[in-house]
Symmetry: C2
Subunit: 143 residues, 2 copies
DNA sequence: CACAGTACTGAGACCTGGTATCATTTCGCC
DNA sequence: GGCGAAATGATACCAGGTCTCAGTACTGTG
C-alpha cells in the first residue's frame, strides 16, 4: 500500500497552482537536465528550437518561482540556470569548468543565524555563493 | 612624528593606478556618501546633474574595481551601490527601509573555509548576503 | 460530443540598463 | 605656455528582458 506523500514532481507542482506541464515547459526542463552545467537563457533557447523566446523567459521565471530550477550568479555577474534540488542549499561555482555544485553545510547557516540574532535582524532569507576551482580542475592544472 | 601608513583615500587609490580624482568622480562619491541608503545608477545620475550618463557608469565601474564602493544585490535581483568599507565584509539588506548594513562575522567565513577544504574546493572568493528586517523596522512594526 | 472558459503560446514591438565610439576637454608635467 | 595621456559628454548602439495581442491547446461541464 503506497502511502500518500507530498508530491514534488514538476507536473504536480504546477498543478497545485492551476498550471499545466506543457510541451514547452517539459522541453525547457529537459534541456536543463541534459546539460552538464548551468545554461544561459540564450543557450536554453537554442536547445529548444520550437519554443518562442518569450516563452523561454516566461518558463524560466515560472520554474524559478516553483523552486524547480535555481538562478546561479557567476562571479562576473552574469546569470545562468540549473535544475534545483528542492531543499535549502548553496552553490559552489568553478571558474575553471563552469560547473556548479550544490552543497549544504549546517555550520554556515548556523553562523548566519547566530549573527542575525545578535545583530537584531529578522532574517527572511540569505544567499551564499562560493567561487573558485573544483577538485577536477585543480587536478588538471595543479599549479 | 607621523608614521607613514598605507594611504587609502580615494585620491591616492586612484593615483596608484595613474588615475585622477576628477570632478565627476568626486561628485559620484559624494552623492553616494550623502545618501542614506544604496542608490541605483539612475539615482546617482540624478544626484549629479552635470555628469554624463556614460561617465556615471564608467565611474561606478572604476570605483567598484578599486573597492571604494560596493555593489549590493537586492532580493529581487536589482542592483544598487553603497560606499564601502575597504575591509572584507558582507551585507544585511533590510526589506523594510532598504538600508544596507555591513557586517563581518568570522565564524561565517570560518565555516565557509572549512567546507571548501573538506569538499576540495580552492576558494577565490565568496558572497554572503542576508535579507530581512532591521532592528528599527522591527521596532516600528513589530507585527 | 459541443461548447465555454482559461491557460498558454509565438511573433514581434518595445523598453531599459549598459557599452562603444569619437570629437572635445582637462590635467599633470615639463 | 605647450604636450600627451586621461577623462568627459553626446549619441548611436546593443542585449536582456518584457508587453501585447491574436491565435491555440486544454479542461471540464452538460
Ligand atoms: Mn541550486
Ligand atoms: Mn559593503
Ligand atoms: Zn571545475
Ligand atoms: Zn529597516
Amino acid at each position: 500500500m503506497t502511502r500518500p506523500r507530498p508530491e514534488r514532481s514538476a507536473a504536480s507542482q504546477l498543478a497545485a497552482s492551476g498550471r499545466r506541464l506543457t510541451t514547452p515547459r517539459k522541453a525547457v526542463l529537459e534541456a536543463l537536465g541534459r546539460a552538464d552545467g548551468p545554461l544561459t537563457i540564450e543557450e536554453i533557447w537554442e536547445a529548444v528550437p520550437d519554443v518562442g523566446r518569450a516563452t523561454v523567459f516566461r518558463t524560466v521565471k515560472l520554474l524559478l518561482e516553483l523552486g524547480l530550477i535555481c538562478r546561479v550568479v557567476l562571479e562576473n555577474g552574469s546569470v545562468r540556470y540549473v535544475p534545483a534540488t528542492p531543499d535549502h542549499h548553496h552553490h559552489f561555482i568553478c571558474s575553471g569548468c563552469g560547473a556548479v555544485e550544490e552543497f549544504q553545510h549546517p555550520p554556515i547557516d548556523e553562523a548566519i543565524r547566530t549573527l542575525a540574532e545578535s545583530a537584531g535582524f529578522e532574517l527572511s532569507g540569505h544567499a551564499v555563493e562560493l567561487y573558485g576551482r573544483c577538485r577536477h580542475c585543480r587536478a588538471a592544472t595543479p599549479d
